[in-house]
Symmetry: C2
Subunit: 288 residues, 2 copies
Amino acid sequence: MTIIGPRLPRDSQVRVMEDTVAQAEKHFGQFCSLLAAYARKTARLRDKADLLVRRLLDCADTEQPEMRAALRTLAEDLAKVQDYRQAEVERLEMKVINPLKLYGAQTKQTRAEIKKFKCVRNNEIKQLEKLEKLRQKSPSDRQTIAESSVQRATVDASCTTQQLQETIDTFQQQKLKDLQKIFSDFVTIELVFHAKAVEVYSSAFQTLESYDLERDLQDFRAKMHGVYGCYDARPLTTTTTSPGVPWSLAQSAQSTIRSQTKAAAGDEDSAEEGPAPDLGGRGPINNE
Amino acid sequence: MTIIGPRLPRDSQVRVMEDTVAQAEKHFGQFCSLLAAYARKTARLRDKADLLVRRLLDCADTEQPEMRAALRTLAEDLAKVQDYRQAEVERLEMKVINPLKLYGAQTKQTRAEIKKFKCVRNNEIKQLEKLEKLRQKSPSDRQTIAESSVQRATVDASCTTQQLQETIDTFQQQKLKDLQKIFSDFVTIELVFHAKAVEVYSSAFQTLESYDLERDLQDFRAKMHGVYGCYDARPLTTTTTSPGVPWSLAQSAQSTIRSQTKAAAGDEDSAEEGPAPDLGGRGPINNE
């Protein structure tokens, strides 16, 4: 059907529009699902780090005073980083993933406009087919009919083209703005998180660097000396001051010395008596 | 059996040692599996970001020149961050997880020493039991036997205690050093990664901020005008210069104009002709 020939540029226009919208829909859809996955993986990393915080506190409670303080500070710092990571996840949801989700509505609207344009175009084709039939019936009027049909198509097309141009222009402008906005927000969110992490980890590094091993060892040796001391001292004491004392009495005296040693050991008891009550919520660690 | 009474402090010693080793084994084991999980989650986050890099390049290839350049730079920056993340994962493996794994060997050795001590102790108990029997057989020698057994035990114990003290002291010292070293390394690795990420994202932010939307829109409108223009121009040309030209010829002329328009559009063709060859490896994006 030769009369549809000059319509080809309009096919091209529709194709360019459809491609533009389809590409945008595809890419924004992929970005949406990928960034949602990225946020989920970030949340899982946060969960693992949260477990590490608990274990650090757990370990701190069984350690020498200096190490206990260092591990507690490290746990607090690590928890802070996870709070920032949580904020990162929430911001990604709000400022990156949700806008990408909403973008679907925008492409739908543009699709509807393209569809409307296609209907208009199909009506024009039908009208041209009518003119073609008319032309075949009265070949003498051929030139007049052809010219009038072309002129009519030109007027219709320029009107529709105007609308199309506006639609695609608005769509493209919005798309470019959205791309810039969404990825600027993504980069800003990441930047803020990493900057906070640097701040917190710098402080954590200082804490660990200033850890006083010697002081802890002295403390440990003093406590161990208490435990060993009571043993070393006992046989001498019992044999010299009361050689005939029954074993049960010697044992009782020994218990008293051990009680004193335990009291002197103070917090260290928690190592033997189980975790401190404030640990709480010991979840399974292998729940991969 | 009363003669075992005075051995209680040694039970306490063993318990303290066993607790110290068991606590260390438990905590180091937990740290090891948690930090391995942390490294794995980090690697998965890197994988997602790597996919995002591909999609950004993919999208860039279908975009206007300014956006294309911006997205490519962003993709490069994001890829850089993933390289640093990869280095983070490798360093965690090497400097944190592997030492924690090796720590198991250390606790085993200490356990073996405790076991050895227990054997020595059991032998002493047996000897004391023999003495007890001897004492029951000849009650008159009770005092002599008791004193000699206590003295013997004292000598044995002070020797074993010395060894025990050294073992536990070495173990504790090494454990505290290891704790400090491992967590210092962890914090340093994290610190370096986050600092690098801040550097790269700062640059990425600048890139996106300096994106020139107007220039892209002008470029887009110029190209769209080419597509629309060939339609607007055609009917007038064909109707005025060759009113009687067959439709098929008009169509042919139109094809030439379209070819020129396509050539002028340049790279933009890739939008219609599929992805550029350098994209490669489009993996499934939903492989959670």
